[in-house]
């Protein structure tokens, strides 16, 4: 293999000697066309840890902020469950509090926790390390992105303390009710929510710019797009989706803010309240729904695609086997991303649309099942005859597959107009979307944290607490959401504060109490996880370098955990994809991406 590249060798030497650095005794290394990145070197505590431009620190800042607000979302869900399981028991829960909890829980979990954690947290930490870059391409913009996110979170939190409290319009914020009196938080809460979302979108666009351009332009030598770990493919596609979808949310937020503050009628139809005609006229609430769901449906995949990517890598590493059908996995990610822009109206089947319109969206929705099914088969086939290590990341990955299949199948039902119409206002939908975009991505988040925690801190998380965390979360999630499907079938409507003595509820009372108890237990377990994260930071078992024997670049930095600049003096050169596990013909169990062919001369390519 080496003989053919004498020319390049010369070129390489010329390029390297000019920069005065050491030339590794390597195979053909092509001339370096990417100039070295100028890094900002922090000098004081403030620039190193607070206003930091290092993507790794920004990633941790993002993750901690998202986790903090996520726990508030968790506590809000307890409030809802207490009300639903034991109505008229808790004096602090009135209808307003209930709707505010529902709204804030939904918005926090979807946007401020999952989106920020996957793209801002994992994206920032992993992208430069996995593609072999020293940092993001625009570190300063990246830092501003985090601070915008923090301000967005603070504005959101501020809405808890304004007169009228946070908005209670439901996480979809549908006008006209979102800004009319009678809806909790219609005074200041809704404005702060809209402002916070707009800030989030601006901040995210800054970050997304970094993720996309770093992945496209700043990879190390030899790292072709098709040699990138699937984690990066997932984050990349999700970021592209977000850059194209978030503007819809931004537009909707601005127009609704104007409707609220300046009395315009973008979304507000003619309305009479208490016998008096309001100044609004002619606006279209359906237009808002279209804008919202044009953002809202890609948002589902903004959360799901990074999860798909990360779980593929976790399964491959912990089953010591290459990903089955790598190319199909990439194809599926790209196709799902593209399709996600033409399915949004399946969230609006009951809005009174033209039947042909619904027919079109039902068809596209069901087509998405094809690439997603391919992915599920590929995960299962990666496990097939793999050397499965039942580590905690693997447990969470297995939990993800099961949960995702579960939520996906109920999605097939709901994608059909005729089944969706009777079910759409029931707990069946709540069960569906919590399974598919709540629990499933969270399983991946947890798995990923257990997987990469040693890389970030140099220590393992406590295994016993981790096992408890997994089993309670996994079994508990099913205890919560399985019964909800049944509640949906018997017709229990969602969004209702209380069912009183409604005949629907007679068989659901016990179930609702059961769900509430399960939710309290699962929620409590997350605090154990939090405890684990904080105590293991300084007390955890020390991890040796590359504890999972993974191939991707982030585990093979000269310093462990990786330090500023990521890769020491020389950037690594990549010679293979990250899935060379148990390659035939060699005694090495795994071959990291930067190992040159001459170091493993007998290795044969795996037949796939």
């Amino acid at each position: 293999m080496t003989d053919e590249y004498t020319d390049n060798k010369l070129e390489t030497k010329a390029a390297d000697s000019s920069s005065g650095s050491y030339t590794p005794p390597a195979e053909a290394i092509p001339a370096k066309e990417n100039p070295e990145q100028e890094l900002y070197h922090a000098k004081s505590f403030w620039t190193k840890w607070v206003f930091c431009q290092d993507a790794k620190v920004i990633g941790i800042q993002y993750a901690l902020t998202a986790t903090a607000i996520g726990f508030i979302g968790l506590i809000l869900s307890w409030g809802m469950r207490l009300q639903l399981g034991f109505p008229e028991t808790f004096s602090f829960l009135g209808p307003a509090t209930y709707y505010q909890s529902v709204t804030m829980h939904g918005m926090i979990m979807v946007i401020y926790l999952l989106t920020a954690l996957f793209l801002g947290g994992f994206g920032n930490y992993l992208i430069p390390l996995m593609v072999g870059a020293r940092d993001m391409v625009f570190p300063y913009v990246n830092m501003v992105s985090y601070w915008m996110f923090l301000v967005a979170v603070l504005v959101l939190l501020a809405s808890f303390f304004v007169p009228g409290g946070p908005t209670g319009a439901g996480w979809t914020l549908y006008p006209p009710q979102a800004i009319l009196p009678g809806t909790p938080g219609s005074e200041m809460g809704i404005v702060l929510m809209l402002v916070s979302l707009s800030l989030f979108v601006i901040g995210f666009t800054m970050g997304g710019l970094n993720y996309v351009i770093t992945i496209l332009q700043s990879r190390t030598r030899g790292m072709t797009l098709m040699r990138m770990p699937l984690t990066i493919w997932g984050i990349f596609t999700a970021t592209v989706l977000a850059l194209l979808a978030f503007p819809a949310l931004f537009v909707a937020c601005i127009m609704m803010t104007l409707d609220n503050l300046l009395g315009t009628s973008f979304f507000m139809p003619e309305i009479f309240t208490m016998g008096e005609k309001l100044d609004y006229a002619g606006g279209s609430p359906i237009l808002f729904q279209h804008l919202f769901w044009f953002f809202g449906h890609p948002e589902v995949y903004i959360v799901a695609l990074p999860a798909f990517g990360i779980v593929s890598d976790l399964i491959s590493v912990h089953a010591r086997k290459n990903v089955f059908g790598y190319r199909m996995m990439v194809w599926a990610i790209v196709i799902i991303g593209a399709l996600s822009f033409i399915v949004w109206a399946h969230h609006m089947y009951v809005s009174g649309m033209n039947p042909w319109f619904g027919f079109f969206f039902a068809t596209t929705t069901l087509i998405i099942a094809v690439p997603t099914a391919i992915k599920v088969y590929n995960w299962v086939l990666t496990l097939w005859r793999g050397n499965i290590h039942l580590t905690i990341p693997m447990l969470f990955s297995l939990g993800f597959i099961v949960t995702f299949v579960n939520g996906g199948i109920t999605g097939l039902f709901l994608g059909n107009v005729i089944i969706d119409v009777p079910l759409s206002d029931t707990y069946f939908v709540v069960a569906h979307f919590h399974m598919v975009m709540g629990i499933a991505p969270l399983m991946v988040v947890f798995g990923a944290i257990y997987h990469w925690y040693p890389l970030i801190t140099g220590r393992h998380l406590n295994q016993t607490l981790g096992k408890i965390h997994f089993w309670v979360t996994f079994v508990g999630a099913y205890a919560i959401y399985f019964p909800m499907h049944y509640l949906g079938f018997i017709g229990v409507p969602r969004r209702y504060f209380e069912m009183y003595d409604s005949p629907y509820m007679t068989s659901g009372v016990g179930l609702n109490q059961f769900i509430t108890v399960a939710a309290l237990i699962v929620g409590f377990t997350q605090f154990i996880f939090l405890y684990n994260i904080f105590t293991s930071w300084y007390k955890g078992e020390k991890s040796e370098k590359n504890p999972w024997k993974a191939n991707s670049l982030e585990w093979h930095t000269p310093d462990y955990p990786p330090t500023h600049g990521n890769f020491g003096k020389e950037l690594p050169v990549v010679y293979r994809w990250p899935y060379d596990f148990s390659v035939p013909g060699t005694d090495k169990e795994y071959i990291p991406q930067h190992v040159a062919p001459s170091e493993v001369p007998t290795a044969k390519a795996e037949q796939t």
């Binding site: 092509p30 300046l262 790598y326 190319r327 994809w577």
Partner: protein, 211 residues
Amino acid sequence: MSKKELNIFKLLAEKPWEASQAEIDNQHDGRTLDLSKAKLGVRTIMVVSTVIFSLFVVSYSDRMLVHDWRSLSEPWLLWINTAILILTSFVFHKAKIYSEKNEFEKAKNTLLLVGFLSFAFITGQLLVWQYYVNLGQYVSTNPANAFFYLFTALHGLHVLGGLFFWARATMKLFTKNYNIFKTKQAIELCATYWHFLLIVWFILFGLMIAT
């Protein structure tokens, strides 16, 4: 030695695990597109802005079908503003050509003219707002008004954002020691962005005239 993946279908057909593909891949320099990161950044921003403005145009087209839509009459001031914006774009192009020819003194002066014209444009837009307000055409008077104010405000904010980067590029020319390559690039990218804003304005203004 660069291999630029422009065809996504070809790209996704690669088999990275095969020896023959590995030989090709080892030569890859890690860049996908032959563009500087700043250029790509500006293009990405323009794509995101295009999505935003397209969504407004879609909302506009949807909303104008409702019976209460009363179109605004365009004052002659708007035509003057349009002319100023065209002139700005033209002058910016001149500045770019000067900087490409390394005539930075001339580039500096043209850039100052760009700044003056841009602020004149924004002032002109504010005068249009004042004109409408004096007529009693407030933002909530009619949906057409709401869209007009929103469009012009967003477009004006984009101009202000561009002026931030214009100021950074121009200030470089006033220092003694600046990186010629970076300054040239900054001027070129700002010029592109101004052309983009002109096209956006044509579409928005055209939409207002047409309806």
